[in-house]
């Protein structure tokens, strides 16, 4: 409990110190950031699994086009998969929803909602987030958005099927599921906006005494910049969703050009709209969004590397300036997703330049992480394995982005499997590996128990193997010119024939990756119940969440006493210190 004297509590009439919430108030409609963080965690992991399942279905179609889906083929009904054979429309639904669910219902809620919510107040020595009620609202609005997205599969015509990017005019005239997508997105955006406001105020206002900006754990800096991105970029997609909603429901033509002909008939709308307008508004959000996907991962990797090398991070200042600069630049690169729209040379030049510039801070961050390993006393714990793998995987993801950011090469690569390979390298063996690192790392703090190292290592090695098996061939297929979002995986194109054999390999890898997650899921639940009990600072870490709290942290207020911070976040192996780590609040 923070140092609040009872007299003040009585004067202000705050009932919370004296009245225990019931079951609903404690576990369902909780205002405690730790409970909310766990709620976000479980919900997002379920969504990730669901989104992964959608992709596994797609990979069946790509490996064995036109063959009935085994085991579960009958479940999808006649409208989606007659005789168990996937229809193109269903394939498109799976594709659009896989992307939407993974990005908006999976990764961001896990990275920000779960990790951010749980850890930020603990790492800054705060009793909770600045606005606990708002925090609770953020979670439940996210939940509602998720339900809307999932149930859209059951609407007539099925779920959204115009890509996660929902480009008009196609999305404007798509079946009802697209409208549900718009409403789902509105919920998710509102949830995000409330959440990001909460994070920024919390980090600015509730830092413990002595916790100056340059003593913040890098994880907190990453969440701080991420929140600004969400705050200022999401409204553009919100506006776009409103406009598309008007097009679909009120008969407007924001995105419908004049004279549009659909199935031989001219559309009876007023026209005068611009499909490019959607793209500008969408990508104005979606580009910063990809940095939202990676920044929390950077934050987690930083914590795990510092802890498992037993030395301070190299280049803390560079890391901080880099992510701040990255955040700023992320707002002015979006049209590199639009090079193929007939862009003029001035705009094209501008966006190529800013895109090249933005690669610099990412390289600085990666380099700082790699140099941090030099001279370190490396402990190959399970979190560290994932963190180490992150480094080359993110490097591949980042490097493969360069030809996409330069218009001349983008001409060949845009909308091919190369793009899918590129971004999956960053998000899958990139961000998701960082998420795994974080789960294995902070599990002891949340539960007071540790996860099994054996199962963890099995999980790691097989995931690493199979994930490369899925995405490396995609880069190859893309270079050969195979377009994305093709129901037949490129089969009808002569230029694709030489690389189509890779489809089977990728699909087997995908299913292998699914199997590789079983040790993780088993480990997670078994360890929660029967894992070996450990102390509050299992990893001998320096940041406040380990050193000033219990495991799990106190239900009310987090800390028995408000800590006073006297040093930076990574004082490992301080010369002359009694232990190889000195917690932030120890004098």
């Amino acid at each position: 409990m923070a140092l609040v004297d009872d007299h003040a509590a009585h004067t202000h009439g705050h009932a919370d110190a004296h009245h225990e919430p019931g079951f609903l108030g404690k576990y369902v409609f909780s205002q405690d950031h730790k409970v909310i963080g766990i709620q976000y965690g479980f919900t997002s992991l379920v969504f990730l699994l669901f989104g992964f399942t959608l992709m596994m279905l797609m990979r069946w179609q790509l490996a064995f086009p036109g063959k009935p889906i085994p085991l579960v083929g009958a479940l999808f009904g006649q409208l989606n998969a007659p005789g168990g054979i996937m229809l193109p429309e269903f394939y498109n639904q799976l594709g659009a929803m896989h992307g939407t669910i993974m990005v908006f219902l999976g990764i961001v809620p896990l990275a920000v909602g779960a990790f951010g919510n749980y850890l930020v107040p603990l790492q800054i020595g705060a009793p909770d987030m600045a606005f606990p009620k708002l925090n609770m609202a953020s979670y439940w609005i996210y939940f509602v958005g998720g339900v809307i997205m999932l149930t859209s599969f059951f609407l007539p015509g099925g779920a959204a099927q115009s890509g996660w990017t929902s480009y008009p005019p196609l999305s404007d005239i798509a079946p009802t599921g697209q409208t549900a997508w718009l409403f789902g997105m509105l919920c998710l955006i509102i949830s995000s906006l409330l959440g990001s406001t909460n994070f920024i105020v919390t980090i600015i206002q509730l830092r413990a005494p002595g916790l100056t900006w340059m003593r913040l754990p890098f994880f907190v800096w990453a969440q701080f910049v991420t929140s600004f991105l969400l705050l200022l970029a999401f409204p553009a997609l919100q506006a776009a969703a409103v406009l598309q909603g008007m097009d679909r429901l009120a008969g407007t033509s924001f995105f419908l050009p004049s004279g549009l002909v659909v199935s031989g008939q001219q559309l009876a709308v007023s026209g005068g709209g611009s499909p490019l307008l959607w793209q500008h508004l969408f990508w104005f959000l979606a580009h910063p969004e990809v940095y939202v996907l990676i920044l929390p991962a950077f934050g987690i990797i930083a914590e795990v590397i510092a802890n498992n090398t037993r030395k301070p991070l190299w280049g803390y200042k560079s890391l901080v300036y880099s992510v701040v600069f990255l955040g700023f630049m992320s707002f002015i690169v979006w049209a590199h997703h639009m090079f193929m729209t007939g862009m003029g040379t001035v705009m094209s030049t501008f966006f190529q330049i800013t895109t090249m510039i933005i690669s610099v801070p990412s390289v600085i961050v990666l380099t700082a992480f790699i140099i941090s390993l030099w001279g370190g006393s490396i402990r190959f714990t399970v979190p560290m394995l994932f963190a180490l793998a992150f480094l080359p995987m993110f490097a591949i993801g980042g490097l493969t982005g360069l030809p996409l950011g330069l218009a001349p090469t983008d001409i060949h690569l845009h909308d091919t499997y190369y793009v899918i390979g590129h971004f999956h390298y960053v998000v899958a063996p990139g961000t998701i590996f960082a998420m795994f690192a974080g789960i294995y790392y902070w599990f002891p703090k949340l539960t007071g128990k540790k996860m099994s190292d054996v199962l963890g290592k099995i999980h790691f090695w097989f995931s690493f193997l199979f994930i490369n098996g899925i995405f490396m061939p995609m880069l190859w297929q893309g270079l050969a010119g195979v377009s994305r979002r093709l129901y037949d995986g490129g089969d009808s194109y002569s230029h694709a024939q030489g690389v189509l054999g890779l489809n089977k390999m990728m699909s087997y890898s995908a299913w292998g990756l699914a199997l590789a997650q079983l040790p993780f899921i088993i480990n997670l639940f078994w360890s929660m119940a029967k894992g070996k009990k450990v102390g509050s600072n299992y990893w001998d870490a320096t940041t406040l969440e380990w050193a000033a709290t219990t495991s799990p942290p106190l239900a009310h207020g987090n800390f028995a006493e408000v800590p006073t911070v006297v040093r930076g976040p990574y004082d490992y192996s301080l010369p002359g210190a009694p232990k190889d780590f000195t917690p932030q609040h120890e004098g």
Binding site: L232, L276, H280, L281, F284, F331, G342, G344, V346, M347
Partner: protein
């Protein structure tokens, strides 16, 4: 925020608010009046936006106390305004840039 707690300065602020209200009312009448002159489009847009910006700064500066606000708020807003301008003009500029294509 202009956090003075003594009654006299608060009452002075109140008089300022009334003054700002009158200014806003006058400017509203002005902007409507000017619109009847059918100025050429560029000029009409310029004048209307100028008057709106002036009214807006009165609301922001006095009613929202921005003239006396903390630096942190200023910087958040400066950042926002920069991105706002980018969002406002780039799509149209992009369309203009490809007008020959």
């Amino acid at each position: 925020m202009a956090q003075t707690h003594d009654a006299e300065s608060i009452r002075k602020e109140t008089r300022t608010y009334i003054g700002v209200f009158i200014a806003l009312a006058v400017l509203t009448v002005l902007t409507v009046g000017v619109s009847y002159f059918h100025l050429p489009p560029a000029l009409a847009i310029g004048v209307a936006l100028l008057i709106a910006a002036f009214k807006g700064s009165l609301v922001a500066g006095f009613f929202m106390h921005l003239f006396h606000e903390r630096k942190l708020i200023y910087w958040v807003l400066v950042l926002t305004v920069f991105f706002f301008l980018v969002l406002l003009f780039y799509p149209t500029f992009s369309a203009w840039d490809q007008r020959h294509l």
